[in-house]
């Protein structure tokens, strides 16, 4: 109830602040430990890919001009000069009028400039092949360097290592890669009314939902989670715990109890461990207003709302992109590419000067786009999050969204 003490900032100001924190330091790891992590350096190809002209099909290596005019009804004939194994290096030379049996991936012999698929041929004894199709030069051939050219920058620093990118690095022989160390997120809860989930709750108490839901969210974006448990509303203990967490983690999330006392203690402890570097005390967003952003050196401590649905929305909207940013991801806060376009099913009012996040359910519609229906129910109900597929943002300068308006739905984790 100390509204006047809030130094409320907007969501975009908060993102500006969070962007200033540096990513985790680069370390070099084996490629098999790199999936999902973020490149710390550009990767340049040390060789061509493929290293030689290779066949894309099972068939016969030929000179394309030797096949010109060949059709099913008017086939051509070539000598079967030799056979190429998959691991045979290039070298043998194909003369005009000759063909050589070649498997998918086999190296083209010198002189050959195309491969005819086995389906378009007929073996005519051991020494002759019937050619039933005319080929263009380089048909069915993957050219040397066609995938990647030696010296080409293939992946940039700041890119997340998806499976396809891991495959590319494997193909180029990058058995060790420089990535940003996995982000370590510390999680603790406060609040005199909060008890561990295995305890029986007497009237007036609630279980520690936040530790579990926030840890699951932090894990789902690839961070390592350390749990510091539940701290009573006691500034001394909280300060000690926060100091330990700050030493061991890159980011500390402390979700306050809902009580005014808990909020005050969290702020007081944050001020102590951060030497007063409170960067935000309140965000102009709903839900999620009672969020605190504090810095200790390059480490951030975030005071999240005690209210469990609010804490999860702040986590999805701001903290998960922030964890990606700390993990080295470029443009971590611009995740619109993940959003699903949809049509809003009804008007939603909003207040200017505050960014609203509306929980919506997506359902197929007769239109091209799915229908986004706001989930009804009090904001604090867990079922509103359980029923929602995603969030729709109402920008701070907007008075609301209209029925039938196109919106972008940010999918919930």
């Amino acid at each position: 109830m100390k509204e006047s003490f809030f130094q409320v900032i907007s969501v975009s100001q908060c993102i500006q602040i969070l962007r200033e924190f540096s990513p985790t330091p680069p370390i070099t790891v084996d490629l098999e430990d790199a999936p999902g992590l973020v490149l710390a350096e550009d990767v340049t190809a040390g060789e061509d890919l493929p290293l030689q002209h290779r066949s894309c099909v099972d068939g016969y290596a030929v000179r394309a001009r030797d096949t010109f005019g060949a059709t099913e009804s008017n086939p051509g004939y070539l000598d079967l000069a030799f056979s190429i194994d998959i691991q045979t290096p290039p070298g043998s030379c194909l003369e005009s009028g000759q063909s050589a049996r070649i498997p998918t991936g086999g190296c083209l012999p010198d002189g050959a400039d195309a491969v005819i698929m086995v389906e378009h041929t007929l073996g005519m004894g051991p020494a002759t092949v019937e050619i039933k199709k005319s080929l263009s030069p380089w048909e069915n051939v993957m050219l040397r360097g066609e995938d990647v050219a030696h010296g080409e920058c293939v992946l940039h620093a700041g890119l997340r290592l998806t499976p396809a990118r891991i495959g590319l690095l494997a193909a180029l022989g990058c058995s060790r890669v420089s990535i940003h160390r996995r982000v370590v997120v510390g999680i603790l809860s406060t609040g005199d009314e909060v008890v561990n989930i295995s305890e029986t709750v007497r009237p007036g108490l609630v279980r520690d939902v936040n530790t579990h839901a926030l840890a699951a969210l932090a894990k789902s974006c690839g961070s390592d989670v350390r749990r510091y448990g539940l701290v009573r509303d006691d500034p001394h203990t909280l300060t000690k715990k926060l100091e330990t967490a700050l030493m061991e983690c890159d980011l500390v999330l402390v979700s306050g109890g809902s009580s005014v006392g808990a909020r005050d203690h969290t702020l007081e402890s944050l001020q102590r461990v951060c030497n007063g570097h409170i960067l935000a005390h309140g965000l102009a967003m709903s839900p999620g207003k009672p969020t605190i952003v504090a810095a200790s050196g390059n480490k951030a401590i975030i005071g999240l709302p005690g209210q469990v649905t609010s804490a999860q929305v702040v986590m999805q909207v701001l903290m998960m992109p922030f964890i990606a940013h700390l993990g080295g991801r470029k443009n971590a806060f611009q995740n619109n590419w993940k959003s699903i376009p949809a049509i809003l099913s009804r008007n939603i009012g909003s207040r200017q000067g505050r960014t609203d996040y509306i929980r919506v359910k997506l359902t197929p519609s007769d239109n091209d786009l799915p229908l986004a229906t706001p989930v009804l129910g009090k904001s604090g109900l867990l079922k509103t999050l359980l029923q929602a597929d995603g969030l729709v943002e109402i920008p701070e300068n907007s008075e609301g969204l209209k029925n039938n308006q196109k919106v972008l739905v940010r999918p919930l984790e």
Copy 2:
């Protein structure tokens, strides 16, 4: 080149076969180890949530009828009878004409049926509160059991434990949950032309891309990966390795070398370890035709194409849903909800009797839907996968898709 030996089945037949494999057995784990795993049993609420009527806001508990008619310009006045702490159990009784200070989450006292937000009040000394707004009964109150009612089935077996569901289980005190054990996926590569990625490749050889890309894909859907490395094209060694992998894993993925010899050896070894239970030898899909499905008891061994882009497409289209299915997920093969609607940028031909998967790039367009542009280039090029955002399926009974047609894009991992 032994096309005639292929027992080719369709993609839908393959899914039917894969669906028959049973999920991993249920085990009971701590809730903190459960995120991302799949419930093995329905969960029924053992209590109401919330346990009592609770305030949604910071303010004053009142009887709604005592506020009727109150406005900013014509406020009402109530006695401030007592204060409620966040952890105070309900009990005290609010009389007509009284109010009680209450924090967000506080239990409503008997007699009260609404809470007025502090913003709509004015303290008039220690004993009186000015009421500037009329409330409806139960306004700003979360009713006992409003989120979950005692005895309600809140989550069904077969559901993946998302962060919001983990939060719900925490709120209900489910500190231990019955989930399907994490799927263990074994990965090995074969092929005489394939070398470990740290080796220098002499002409004719290629690096073992599949082990790395397939492991990254298997990890990304939450399985534990065991790597069995690279096995030469030697049926005896391959059989031994497969037997070990089958004992230690729920699913074994062996990607064949591209050579005919490697394919034959893989088939021979699969027949040995599976006692001839080859369920499919070839899939009517492109890319991905040279895929083998074999069974040893309830365990599956899949022979994936040696060609690296084909192997990744089969993995994305069939194996990742299969891993989800083995992990206990209901309707694991119906993942259309994840697909992104888009407009195709050009005609794509296809052959009837075969399901085609086209790599596409998504770009914003003037229409409601993004544009899906097929990625050009030979199917075997890694860059076609790197440039693609997703896959468009052309069903087996279709002759192709038309320019400007609406399609569903399955996002690539």
